[in-house]
Symmetry: C2
Subunit: 473 residues, 2 copies
Amino acid sequence: MTANLDALLSPNSIALVGASPDLHIFRGRTLKVMLGHPYAGRIYPVSRSHDEIQGKKAYPSVAAIPEPVDLAILIIPAEHVPDELERCGVAGVKAAMILASGFAEARGPTGKELQARIVAIAERYGLIVCGPNAEGYANTAAALCPTFSPAVDNMIVPLVPPWRTRGHVAVVAQSGGMGFGFYDRGRAKEVPFSYVITTGNEACLETFEIVDHLLDEGKTDVFLLFLESIKDARSFERAAAKALAAGKPIIVAKIGRSDAGRRASLSHTAAVAGDHAAYQAMFRRHGIIEATDIDEMVDLAAAFSLCRERLPAGNRVGIGTVSGGGGGWLADACVAAGLTIPILDAPTRARLDEHIPVYGSSQNPVDATAQAIVASGYGELARLIVASDEVDAVIMIVSARSAASFEKEADKLATIAKASPKPILMWSYTLPSADTTRILSQAGYPLFTNMAICARTLAAMVHYRAIRERHLP
Amino acid sequence: MTANLDALLSPNSIALVGASPDLHIFRGRTLKVMLGHPYAGRIYPVSRSHDEIQGKKAYPSVAAIPEPVDLAILIIPAEHVPDELERCGVAGVKAAMILASGFAEARGPTGKELQARIVAIAERYGLIVCGPNAEGYANTAAALCPTFSPAVDNMIVPLVPPWRTRGHVAVVAQSGGMGFGFYDRGRAKEVPFSYVITTGNEACLETFEIVDHLLDEGKTDVFLLFLESIKDARSFERAAAKALAAGKPIIVAKIGRSDAGRRASLSHTAAVAGDHAAYQAMFRRHGIIEATDIDEMVDLAAAFSLCRERLPAGNRVGIGTVSGGGGGWLADACVAAGLTIPILDAPTRARLDEHIPVYGSSQNPVDATAQAIVASGYGELARLIVASDEVDAVIMIVSARSAASFEKEADKLATIAKASPKPILMWSYTLPSADTTRILSQAGYPLFTNMAICARTLAAMVHYRAIRERHLP
């Protein structure tokens, strides 16, 4: 059965146990981060030593709060957590997020005993418990950020790009640093995140129960997971099958390919990483996409977020380029990723040749030369290539350093992407400006800076569509 | 014999044949870019239709210029190039850079005939000719940029980071887009470039003659090459051996791993890409480092630029991290790249444990936890790890989003890097700010954003040192 995690992830009232006025420590920072966003629910600081904290009335205990509390955030020393959790249970709190560290991941037996007590208390009261050793979460739709992560502090931009209304990405991560790292990198690429949820040791609630809940909730289209272990194979199987049926890709970083990685997971979240080959077989079976770097994770999420409804039907790629040298280089990268670069059909080439000077090429890669791009624009070139029956997808090589030319053809680019049943990706050999990134993302084009990742992402899209079609009636 | 290319790359006087007042076309843009930098030599626009262009007196022909000209830049239609080159020869011009396209790379026989005429004229007059189909170059020390590349136009920063006095990187690229793309990406990472030289079809002068010249000149420590073909194996062998002896790494992107890549090279610069396996064997023999993406090229250059005098003696890596999850992930990436992550020795661990809370780990990866980093700083952690006899290099996992903490420990970081005979690299899981990038680079730490590239770069450093020690007496 799927757990209803609304009390944890969409609470109406929150107790912050351990709140502090000191902005240099995590207990003070967490309240500050929460108050920095326009969350519409109630936040109750709980403190034994203060009546007021950061302008909010504080309460001496959870029991003293004048209304039933959905969620308690615990940032107190590990040894006090079980007793406090017990008090939360007695007070009728529905869910708890434990940010404290020093449990099963710590050296010595004490932490393990503390964690076992947490599990017992959670079961006794039917409490939903996330953590311990977590870094909190962000629910962007609710403007709710119970976390000390700097990634959602002092925001000068909204939590989600205002123009994004779909294709939302949820992060679920055993590591707080990596989880909010995905957010930090992805936000800069105009990726809309629904949630960033960090789970730490997963003493009670584990990743795939959360995925299952988010699938039911329906606000998320792509999942980015950072896993040190999978605690429950059945819960994994259920969520993975449900996601595949819904066409909502799961992108995974699974730690523990090496002995050193497995050692690190054990000391980080007490996770037993297990045999990696077995995990990979399990991932492949369920169409789960594995990535080995943070850049790759975020680029995969950005691409599926924009293109999951027009995935390529095969692995034949058309490359259109302003740089002849870049065309050959990307062709090599595509072939290395398992894609093919067919020579285009004669009618398409004839149409392209009307735009391309004699020292360019329409064969594929289509080397339009800078002159043709200046004259005709990237959009026109992409439109002609993507119309060819010889290709299942297009990658355009662009220089995204300056936004001016993209600004000019933004409407045309949007029309072309919308009309095309095939995805069109872009790779920039110069460093994209923030404006270009926004314009292209808004027009429906995932923009890559790393060529190898661009090629591998397209290959993952091909593979994901194929496995879905194989699995579904 | 090594060609003296000073007339081409460090001229005292330049004729710009085809100069135009129209800033929307390459002929106008090239003059504008040149005039935008404080080059100390003389620039003479040559034009049949104007007496003055962009504020400079223009001349009707190269012969009419009142002094001997070192270098002629030709941006005129391909069919006029041979005659103009002949006139340059007659006028005693020493070198020519041909930016025009439409030669051997073009469809049909005309271009190939034009290119053959260029070769004959260059030989007849002893002219040094670069191109055709090139995009010009940048000589940063001379503030000389005869190119239409936007990458060196409208600079709001100096061509080279002002604090950089050594570790300069020269780009030599058959592709103008890629060559200046390396510059654009690398400049943002505080990499000091000595030259960006684009060579196009290499009808006469080819990449390794230029590398040879730059080695003799002595202003360059690292080479970034974009190759579609190697025209002359002997010139390659000579330059490669000389670079290896000098400890000046050559990093190469070689196009043509795939049929499609070879096809693209042929239509781009008329290059016959050849068998890639044979190239790779040749590269390995000479300690040449091959990379498959623009990010990887630039990161390799940045790392060798800062650390080429303290390369790792072996493949044992110490990882220090603020994020436990990141530590395991990076350990996996290091092992995948052929590196090892040994458990640290007891005395080092005892020293580390004084800083690390009970829920961290000193084994390796050293999971210091965010608390210990806030209290002790990244520098102290790096210092303790790098001192261990068990490691040959260190990678620190940092959050480089905010510069504040790095600013505070900048002096200490610089002292530690300077004192260490082993390299210390950094990988940031958040998007680095420009300030952090500068601070860390200035302190001697290559900063990576891509974890897989970070691991592969360190492996390349290990390999490069090993191959040098094997080859040298």
